[in-house]
């Protein structure tokens, strides 16, 4: 190999090709780096990671065994579930499933409940899915036609459908009914109350403040108890509203007071310029609210609104204390049935109830997040 010349100098070696870059040190890339950064960044976080892993190892296998491998999936009565070492008694949930769904609703008529729920689900999907068309028609159907139709479907119509008294309603039907009525009534009523509270008219303002503060100041249990136990003492028997209607009204009014404060938060977040701009355009009060203020204010408080809905959905279980058989109450009653009673029955029932409530609340939460992302598109940086 001959020596090379660069300029007028003789050099011994010149590298012609570029060496590839070395990989980054092992601890700064891939899984180890991720672990180090997220799991073991400090001694404390390392301890927390290890104890969390221990916790999972300690709980999950037993839970899995209890809920799946040791569980009794089919049985004619509670005997197999009472055997030592038996896990969750899903057979009991299977046997009581209709009761959980419909309560005491006559079994020959349950198609009416199913039909009502299916129509409701279709309308809700129509209303909520962003890509669906003709939302105005959907809203009319859901908020006006559907409640009336559902009422007659469930309760019956003279000569067409046999009468099913509300004291026979129960289970999931009642839970969804209370939640749906609460949600549908509380949002518009809450908006009105929030507007009223910010109104310049003294009487409107006074009434709204009084209502909101009074209702928020008492526990829901008290409201339900007043409605279901004390009300019949004060009004003649013929005037007392139906036992199912009372908690519906109570829950709706209660939720509306909370909703009003959530909406008011949104209204207060609106810059003054939005109001002034709307007025400068010559919009009337209601036009301003409908076209400019509320769409923005409500978008801002979606997390708060959904939070209220989720809380309301779970609060429906409180109607049980006034003797109404909502879903949780049917679970509690069914576990007492001597045919099935056993050491694992209560746990199984409550696990099933937890799954039910979790599915509904999680769905609401996911939908609200989707909606937030979509509506915030204009403000994204």
């Amino acid at each position: 190999m001959s020596d090379q010349t660069i300029g007028n100098k003789q050099v011994a070696f010149v590298r012609r090709d570029v060496t590839g870059t070395l990989p980054a040190p092992i601890m700064t890339r891939g899984l180890p780096a991720w672990l180090r950064e997220n799991m073991f960044s400090t001694p404390l976080s390392g301890v927390l990671t290890l104890s969390s892993i221990l916790l999972v190892v300690w709980i999950v296998p037993d839970m899995f065994r209890y809920l799946f491998t040791d569980a009794i999936w089919s049985a004619a009565d509670g005997a197999p579930c009472r055997a030592p070492g038996a896990g969750a008694c899903w057979a009991y949930v299977g046997a009581k499933f209709e009761y959980f769904m419909y309560g005491s609703y006559p079994r020959s008529q349950t198609w009416r409940v199913n039909l009502t729920l299916v129509i409701g689900a279709v309308l809700i999907l129509w209303l909520l899915l962003p890509q669906a068309k003709k939302k105005g028609l959907a809203a009319l159907m859901f908020f006006v036609v559907y409640p009336v139709a559902a009422f007659f479907l469930l309760r019956g119509l003279d000569g067409v459908l046999s009468l099913v008294e509300t004291n026979l309603w129960g289970g999931v039907l009642v839970s969804l009914l209370v939640a749906a009525v609460g949600i549908v009534v509380s949002l518009p009523l809450g908006v009105l109350l929030a507007l009223g509270r910010r109104s310049q008219l003294p009487f409107v303002k006074f009434f709204c403040v009084l209502f909101i503060e009074f209702v928020r100041g008492v526990p829901l249990i008290t409201v339900l108890f007043m409605a279901n136990t004390m009300l019949p003492l004060f009004v003649p028997q013929e005037w007392t509203p139906d036992r199912m209607l009372r908690p519906l009204i109570g829950v709706s009014l209660f939720a509306a007071a909370y909703m009003a404060e959530v909406v008011r938060g949104g209204l207060q977040a609106m810059p003054k310029g939005q109001f002034e701009g709307a007025m400068a355009l010559g919009l009337s009060y209601w036009q301003m609210m409908r076209l400019i203020i509320l769409p923005q204010a409500l978008t801002t408080v979606i997390p708060g609104i959904v939070n209220s809905f989720i809380a309301l959905f779970k609060d429906t279980t409180l109607v049980a204390i006034v003797g109404i058989f909502d879903f949780l109450r049917t679970v509690e009653t069914a576990r007492l049935d001597p045919v099935w009673a056993g050491p694992t029955i209560s746990t199984t029932g409550y696990v099933f109830a937890a799954i039910f409530y979790w599915v509904f609340c999680f769905a609401m939460s996911r939908y609200s997040q989707m909606l937030e992302t979509k509506l915030a598109a204009g403000r994204r940086r």
Binding site: A83, S104, F225, N228, T229, V322, G323, P338, V339, A341
Partner: protein, 341 residues
């Protein structure tokens, strides 16, 4: 919080009872007939007394009593609306007229009649606190429980009765208290205690929850008085009589050997007692405001006392409660009905 509500409602009930705003005589029956059904307050969930089955149909001893009342009025045991009542709102609902009769295993006490303005129309189940132990302990009486550990629910009269019983008999025991009956029975089942105590009817209901129910036995001693029966509001003596005599008709029917199955055959009998009960002689139903065949209707549609006992809490059910005190007076119990004549 709950206590305040309860206190307020009891005060309100007392006020209304004091002003005598409740129904006048005869009004309740009239209202029921007009309305077309009996409004019966039941326990929202107590096995054997008031509990909806898998179909949602109400079952139980108290429930069948209400069916009996409905049968005597309408000749149709289905004309009754069951309204589940919690312990808190039951008396208020009775006062306000929302329910006509409260058949909710309520204990008949002096204060409930004197302060709350109620009338108990009889005792359809004599309950009392008892003990359950494992069979392998070979104990036949609660008096042999010296030194035993006893699982009990906290803060109940049960706990106090337990202390009284052991002190009165100069026995030692170790009480292990739990907040709920579920926890207490679980602890007993896992071997934490030698005995478990609550009301006897509850003992049988809890026993079926145990891993192996047959290994446990309920001791014969009953250490407290818990007479359970239907209650009506004061001020309508006719209605009070109807509820009372519905229970008595069932007990009399059992005593005379009249059952759901043989009532038609027995109606042809020559026995004057049977004739008076089933209405072929005298106007006994009419004087109550009902029809002559009122008790025939009760037995035909619902059955006699022994039958409903057996079906709901006795040998025909999973609870398998012995008749004991609830047997007829002729068979060693204290169920005794005045004669119909």
């Amino acid at each position: 919080m709950k206590r305040i509500i309860a206190a307020a409602s009891i005060a309100a009930v007392g006020a209304i009872a004091a002003t005598g705003a409740s129904a006048q005589s005869g009004k309740t029956l009239e209202q029921i007939k007009q309305r077309g059904f009996l409004a019966c307050g039941t326990n929202p969930g107590l096995a054997g007394f008031g509990l909806p089955d898998s179909q949602g149909a109400w079952t139980g001893l108290d429930v069948d009593l209400c069916r009996g009342i409905a049968a005597s009025i309408f000749n149709d045991p289905t004309k009754v609306k069951f309204i589940p009542m919690t312990a808190k709102d039951r008396f208020t609902a009775l006062q306000s007229g929302e329910i006509d009769v409260l058949a909710r295993n309520g204990t008949w006490t002096q204060s409930r009649e004197a302060e709350l303005g109620l009338l108990f129309a009889g005792v359809n189940y004599y309950d009392g606190q008892g003990f359950m132990v494992r069979k392998k302990l070979n104990i036949n009486s609660a008096l042999e429980l010296n030194g035993a550990s006893v699982c009990v629910q906290q803060g109940t009269t049960t706990e106090l009765n337990l202390a009284d019983f052991f002190r009165a008999n100069n026995l030692k025991y170790e009480g292990v208290a739990f907040a709920t009956s579920d926890e207490a029975i679980k602890a007993y089942d896992s071997g934490r205690c030698d005995a478990y105590t609550t009301d006897a009817s509850g003992l049988y209901a809890e026993r079926v929850k145990l891993v192996n129910a047959d290994e446990h036995v309920v001791l014969p001693e009953v250490i407290s008085k818990e007479p359970l029966g239907p209650a009506v509001r004061q001020g309508d003596d006719q209605w009070f009589n109807i509820v009372k005599w519905t229970h008595f008709a069932m007990v009399n029917a059992e005593e005379l050997g009249i059952t759901k199955a043989n009532v038609d055959e027995k109606a042809k009998s020559n026995s004057p007692e049977i004739k008076r009960l089933l209405g072929s002689e005298g106007d006994f139903g009419k004087t109550l405001g009902l029809t002559r065949d009122w008790s025939y209707r009760i037995v035909k549609h619902v059955g006699n006392y022994g039958e409903i006992f057996d079906k709901n809490v006795g040998e025909g059910s999973r609870l398998k409660i012995r008749r004991g005190l609830n047997n007829l007076w002729t068979k060693g119990g204290i169920q005794y009905a005045p004669p119909i004549r």
